[in-house]
Structure formats: C-alpha cells, structure tokens
C-alpha cells in the first residue's frame, strides 16, 4: 500500500465532507435569501443600547 492511496483517500473524504455540508446548507434554505442575513447579523445589540438612551430622554423631559 503506497502512501499515495492514503493521501488520495483522505483528500477525497475531506472534499466529500465539504460537499455534503454544501448540500445541507442549500437544503436548509441558506441560499434562498442572500440579503436579510447580512442585515440581521448587525442587530442583536440594539435592544440593550436603547434602554440607557430611553432613561436619559425621560429625565430630560421631566
């Protein structure tokens, strides 16, 4: 058994794993909408930020 066979097997297994990952990604709908996620990733923090802002505003108006 030559080392070439081992290397070939490993490289093809890795390639096939990536290929399976790709198929799974398509199946789960990742490629259906390629815009919204790019906006969504920037959110998350906003809710926390607004709270201190809000109290400042309230103090001002009082």
């Amino acid at each position: 058994m030559s080392v070439i066979y081992v290397l070939l097997t490993i490289s093809i297994i890795i390639a096939v794993l990536f290929f399976i990952a790709f198929i799974k990604a398509v199946k789960s709908g990742q490629y259906d909408d390629d815009y919204t996620p790019s906006v969504r990733i920037l959110f998350e923090d906003e809710l926390v930020k607004t709270k201190p802002n809000k109290t400042i505003k309230k103090q001002k108006s009082n």
């Binding site: 030559s2 066979y5 390639a15 398509v26 906003e46 709270k51 809000k54």
Partner: protein
C-alpha cells in the same frame, strides 16, 4: 394674528418622524417629535412603550401610516381559510408566511423580527427581504391569525392577503440549479487537481505507476456532472431536434457527449488521459452563466392575473348574520356585503347602499361611477363610499372581468415563439461544425486512417460553443441587473432581445402617460380677488374631501385667514365664512348654478356671497418629459395611444404629441388586444406600455409588455417588465441600451469564433492535447465573460 403666525410656522415643511410625509393638516407634536397624523403617533407610542425606538435610529422615518381596516380581516376567523393560509398548524402552534409590501429597509427587518417584544405569544418571526415576506410562528391558542394581522396593521405593516395566497401556504422552492452548480463545481475542482500531474510529466516512473488510479477517479467525478448537472442540455437538445430546431444546446450536448465517450475510451484502452478536466469545466461555466442570468426580482411577480387583486374572502349576509366566506364559495343568489375600499369579486345586482364604484382596474376610466339599487355591478370594481349590499349573479370564474383570462393568449409562453440571437447563430454554427468535422475526417481517412476518429472527436470537442453560449447570458444578465438598479425591472433576460427588435409602441392613457398622483386644475370664470382667494384656500384647508385636498395642494398658498364658520355637506360641498364674506365650494347644484352643462371632466364650482364665480376643472396631468419622449421616439417607432377613457383629452394630446401619433379612444380591454394582434399580423413588433388590469390582455398579446407603476410594491398586471413611473422619460434610452447589448453579444460572438478557429487548427491537424483543450476552453470563456461585463458596465454608466 397670533394664531395665523403659529400655523404658518407649522406649514414650513416639517416631516413626520414616523413616516417622513410632510405634516399639514393634523400636525401633532408628541415627545418632542413631529407626526403627520394620529396613526403615526400611535405607532411611535407603541414602539416607545416597548423599548423599540431603535427602529428610528437605523433608518430615518421608516414607517407607514396604519390604515383603518375595521372588519376587513374578519374572514381570518374562518377555520377553512386559516387552514389554507398557514403552512403548519397543529392546534397549538401555527406558522404563516405573509407578504408585507411595506418592507423596504433595515428598520423594517429589525422591528418585524422583534415582534415577540410586542406580543410574547409570537415565538419567532423571520423576514425575507428579497421576497418581502414575514414568516411568523405563534401560539394560536393565545393569539389568533386575525389578531396577528391586526397587530401588524397597528404598527403600519399591513399584510397583503389575496386570492393568490389561497394555495401558496405549502409552496416548495426550486433549488435544482444551485445543486447542479455545486455538483459541477465540486467535480471540476477535484478533476483539475487529479489531471494536473499528467499535463507536463510524460513517461515518468511514479506517474506510470499510479496514473490509472487518477484517471478512474476523474471518471468517477465526471459521472454526476454528465448525468445530473448537464441533464438540462441533453433534454433541451432532444426537444430542439424533435421540433426540428437547431438550438445552441445541440452542439453543447454533442460536445459533452463526445468528450465523455472519447475520454472513457481513452482511459479504458490506456490511450491517454482523457478530457475530463475540460468536460467538468465546460459544464460548470455553462451552469454559472445560467445561474447569472436566472437571478431575478423575487419581490416582483410578472405572472399576476385577477387572483392577485381579488380578496380571499367576502362577507355574506345570511339571515341578518354576517359570515365571512371564501370567494370561491360564492354561489348565485348569495347576498354579499361590500365595505368601503373593498373589491367586488363577482358580477351582481346592487340591493342597497350608496354605490360609487371605481372601475379603473377594469376599464381604465378614472372617474368613479354612481349606481342605484337594481343596477348591475361588475366584478373588479372598487366600492369607494360606505358599505353596500349586493346579490351575486354567478360564480367568480364566470364574471365579465375574469373571462378575459380565458383568452388563449394567457396560456401562451412568449419565449416559445421567439428565436433568440444565440439560437439563430447556432443553426449555422452546428451545420458548419458538422461539415468541418466530416471534411477533416474524410481527409485523414485518405492520409492516415488511424487518426480519423481522433480528429473527428477533437473537432466536436473544441468547437463546443461554450463561449458563444456564455456571451448572451452574461451580457443580458448584467444589463438586467443594471436596469434593475435604474428601476426598470425585467421578467427575464430574453425581454432585452425582444425589446431591441421593437418597431411599434402603443401606450395606454390613464395611469400610463398621465400621472395618478398629480392632477392639474384650470379655472374658468370671473377672476377672484385676493381676499376671495385667501378665503378659498382657508376653507379648502378644513375639508378632508379628496377633491378639496388636491385643489388645496394645487393652489398657491395664500395667507391663511381664520374662519368664523365652517360647514361640510357630504356629497355636495363645503361652506365657509370669514368676516363678512362667505364662500360655497362644491357641485354645481350646491353653489346655486341652475343649469348643468354636460361635463366630461370633474369640476368644482365656486360662489362667493351667493354670487356664482366660476369653476375649477380637473385635468389629467401628463408625466414629466412626455412630449420630449414622444418626439425622440417618433423617429424610430410607430406610436399610438389606446385609451379606455372617453375622448375629452383629444385636443390636449394633439397639442402635446407628434402629429403622426395615432389616438384611439373608448377601447375595451378586448379591443386593445385585437388592435395589437392586427398590427402583429402585419409584421409589426409591438411594445405595449400600460398599467391596469384592463391592459392585461394587451400586455400579454404584445411582443413586450411594460407595466408602468407609481409604486412597484403595489400590484401590477402580468407583463414582461415593470417600469417605475419616475423613469418613464428614460424609456427611449432603455430601448437604445437593449440594442447596444445585442451589438455587444455579436462582438463577443466574433471573439469566440477566433478562439474556435485556433482550436480547430489543433483539432484538424490531429494534435489536440488535453492540456491545450484545458487551457483554451477556460481562457475563451473567461475572456468572453470579462469582455461582456466591462462592455455592459460602460453601457450602464451612460444610462440614467
């Protein structure tokens, strides 16, 4: 007057914090922010109470004013309808996907995905920005679908639910092209690696030892490419042959097949390494071109028929009870309740109520028509004054309007009858390639018979028109995107080719060359004094009637005087007094003008201190740049205007448009269709520009149908392209750009022919090495892609 000064300060263009409209009549200041109406203020209130004001930080004035929708969504309590709309429903949890036309910025995404902050019973909500849809998962025991829709409406995101949604709840997405692209890309990359050792090293010890392993691995990788990814080319080639049409897919399919068979034979008999690298690369590039061309506008639909306009349900009156029923369940004799702003779904007879029906969808006539009980009502009209009761005369499919869709033209696919430039070229190309292959084979049979088969297959391989097949998709695909940025949305790339062939342009009038938003008013009568003018505008300011509002917007803003007294008489007019002067504004009867001349136009009459003064007549206002556009178009095209309206505007149009423009009035939807058919039979290539449902037949019959839309989120009829109204004056430039695109394609054909000639030299002389094919094939494809992309971008930069 302190009050006057105060009002004038407000009149200075303040815009609403929520929706960005200018604040005029009902200006409200709340929390130090300006709001144009109570609705906008309420939405702000809801958001600030729930710590969601960040909505306004992401984008300035992102909101919409919530509409009054009393009772409109009562049908959502009907179990059958809920079942049809939801994609998942187990009694406790429901999942529904709603189309929300207002989705337009990052703020929208943010607020809609934070719906659970407004109601904890909403478990998840996800926006698809491209499709303008919201997918909501919610606990149906705690919050019903109706409550969910009402909540969305309260925050200004009213969903659009139409008859079209009836069965779309369980739709599947087609992702086959992405899979195929993935498979071929995967195989292409791996085969490239595996074939690399044999490109340069020949008869080397290690290579000879292992070359069979490498070759059979390449063979294995190419199997899914040939039998799965390239499937469509074989199918299309077979269909082409069957209908005796030499399309571009025939030489492609032939090339793929020859590549695969020759390569397999070579490795079976140990003759060489085969062309698996070129084979997988070819399919990958071809699919990439297809993918590039196929990407379209998810949020626009070009296939709409009456179903997208019609409501999904209607209120039936059964023994004095109001029950919402599905539109498809309406039977002859049913009593229906049509609320204000609702569409009449079936033909019927008016029983009672004040019917004022807007038929602009059906006929293009802009004025609403009054009906009295006993009159016949046609489906497609929109009730505009309060609720009415009617009796259905037949089912939905049999009404006057919906029958238009039974015309054969709606079942035809326009692309079928159209020979694209690529297919036109491929006819000659295929013949040429086959004859070169036979001649070369014949020559080698005489000179050196052992090389004959080798040469024959080599010609077919190298002549595989990859570059030709790529030029059109990349040119048109790129131009499609450029047009999209300029708010000219095409259904698919072949529309550009058809647009380049147009020689006749037919316009609809109302809504197409006239603007729905603006109107002009002309005053006829005694001149009004400054005092009277001030009184006029001040009185108009108090009224919310649409005509008062538009007249107020048209008139110059005079000094506002405060009124002593103001009365509004519904359906007649308004009355105002200031100091010792009084004014009456309204219908002829109301202001005391006895004889009423037959008027073609809408008019508002005015009398001051009980003396008749004159009238304001409303005219359609033509779109900006109309006359200039027609003047440039007339050099290259035959022009005509087909209108469903009466001929009241004939004189005006004659003045505005070039003299040879044909003007035809009183055209029913079917007449328009027949008119276009008649011209097409005389060999014309017709472009129809229209807007309403009444143009649907004409848009379908024409070679290219463009729908003009003031707001692309609002629904336009089935067509080939949607043009934003603000870009109407650019129409000529877009047609010119399409023609240039065809030139670009022709030039790239020339380039790819040069590559083919070089390749054919190697093939005919019998010295085609796999490495030459592997270099030439991607080189030609990539250079064509670069050429077309740069050329179209240069072209796009010149467009406005």
């Amino acid at each position: 007057m302190p009050l006057g000064i105060y009002e004038q300060i407000i009149m200075k263009q303040t815009t609403c914090f929520h929706c960005g409209d200018s604040c005029t009549t009902d200006h409200i200041i709340f929390d130090n922010k300006d709001f144009c109406c109570h609705g906008c203020k309420t939405v702000y209130d809801i958001f600030s109470e729930n710590d969601l004001t960040c909505y306004y930080d992401l984008q300035q004035s992102p909101g919409a004013t919530p509409k009054d929708i009393q009772g409109k969504y009562d049908f959502l309590t009907n179990e059958n309808i809920i079942e049809k709309l939801t994609e998942f429903n187990d009694g406790n949890n429901q999942i529904v996907t709603l189309t929300i036309p207002h989705i337009h910025c990052s703020s929208c995404i943010w607020i809609l995905e934070n719906l659970n902050k407004l109601n904890p019973n909403i478990t998840a909500s996800q926006v698809n920005f491209g499709k303008k849809t919201l997918r909501v998962t919610y606990k149906s025991k705690e919050i019903s679908l109706k409550e969910l829709v009402l909540l969305l409406n309260r925050i200004g995101y009213e969903p659009y639910i139409s008859l079209e949604d009836f069965n779309t709840g369980k739709n599947k997405v087609n992702r086959r092209l992405i899979y195929k692209l993935g498979v071929s890309g995967f195989a292409f990359g791996n085969v490239m690696f595996l074939s690399f050792p044999e490109y340069f090293e020949v008869e080397e010890f290690w290579l000879d030892q292992y070359k069979n392993v490498f070759r059979w691995l390449m063979f294995a990788f190419s199997l899914p490419v040939v039998f799965y990814a390239a499937q469509d080319y074989f199918i299309s080639a077979y269909k082409g042959l069957k209908s005796k049409l030499l399309n571009i897919d025939i030489p492609i399919a032939l090339g793929i097949l020859v590549l695969f068979i020759r390569s397999t034979i070579e490795i079976v008999f140990d003759l060489g390494t085969g062309f698996f690298d070129s084979l997988t690369g070819l399919v990958f590039f071809l699919l990439l071109g297809k993918f590039f061309q196929q990407r379209t506008y998810n949020f626009l639909s070009f296939e709409r028929d009456y179903k997208s306009y019609f409501p999904i349900a209607v209120t039936k009156i059964d023994y004095n009870k109001e029950i919402p029923i599905q539109v498809y369940d309406i039977k002859k004799g049913d009593r229906l309740l049509i609320r204000n702003e609702e569409l009449i779904p079936v033909d019927g007879i008016l029983i009672n109520g004040n019917a004022n029906i807007d038929y602009s969808f059906v006929t293009g006539e802009s004025e609403a028509i009054k009906k009295t009980s006993g009159d016949k009502l046609f489906a497609g009209g929109k009730q505009t004054a309060g609720s009415i009761e009617m009796e259905a005369l037949n089912a939905v499919e049999q009404s006057y309007l919906t029958q238009l869709w039974s015309n054969d033209i709606f079942n035809k696919n326009k692309e079928d009858g159209f020979t694209s430039l690529t297919n036109a070229i491929s006819k000659r190309f295929t013949v040429a390639v086959l004859s070169i292959a036979t001649l070369a084979t014949a020559y080698w049979l005489v000179v050196d018979a052992s090389k004959a088969i080798n040469v024959f297959t080599a010609v077919l391989i190298i002549a595989c028109p990859c570059a030709i097949a790529l030029s059109a998709p990349f040119t048109l695909g790129n131009l499609l995107r450029i047009f999209g940025k300029l708010k000219f949305y095409l259904k698919n790339a072949s529309v550009i080719e058809q647009l380049a062939k147009i020689d006749t342009i037919i316009f609809d009038k109302t809504g197409t060359i006239t603007s729905n938003k603006e109107s002009k008013a002309a005053y006829i009568g005694e001149t009004l004094s400054t005092e009277e003018e001030a009184l006029l505008t001040s009185t108009l300011r108090h009224s919310n009637h649409p005509l008062s509002r538009s007249l107020y917007d048209i008139l110059q803003k005079n000094d506002i005087v405060s009124l002593n007294h103001f009365e509004e008489h519904l359906g007649q007019g308004i009355y105002g007094t200031s100091n010792s002067n009084s004014i009456k504004i309204g219908s002829a009867n109301y202001v005391g003008k006895s004889q009423q001349d037959t008027e073609l136009h809408t008019a508002v009459h005015i009398s001051t201190n009980n003396a008749y003064k004159g009238k304001f007549t409303f005219y359609n206002s033509y779109r900006k740049g109309l006359s200039k556009l027609f003047k440039t178009l007339k050099k290259d095209f035959d022009l005509a205007i087909l209108s469903g309206d009466n001929d009241s505007e004939l004189e005006n149009l004659k003045k505005l448009l070039p003299s040879k423009t044909k003007l035809i009035f009183n055209q029913k939807p079917n007449d328009k269709l027949e008119y276009i058919k008649h011209h097409q039979n005389n060999g014309a290539n017709v472009l129809m520009v229209g807007d309403g449902l009444n143009d649907a037949g004409a848009l379908a019959q024409s070679d290219v149908g463009i729908a003009i839309s003031e707001n692309i989120n609002v629904f336009s009829p089935a067509c080939d392209a949607i043009l934003d109204a603000s870009k109407f004056d650019q129409l000529h430039n877009y047609i010119k750009a399409s023609k240039t695109a065809i030139k670009i394609i022709k030039w790239s054909f020339v380039c790819s022919f040069i590559y083919n000639v070089i390749g054919l030299y190697f093939a005919i002389t019998g010295q085609l090495m796999p490495v030459i094919a592997a270099i030439l094939m991607p080189l030609s494809s990539i250079s064509i892609v670069i050429f077309t992309t740069i050329a179209t971008n240069v072209l796009g930069r010149r467009l406005k």
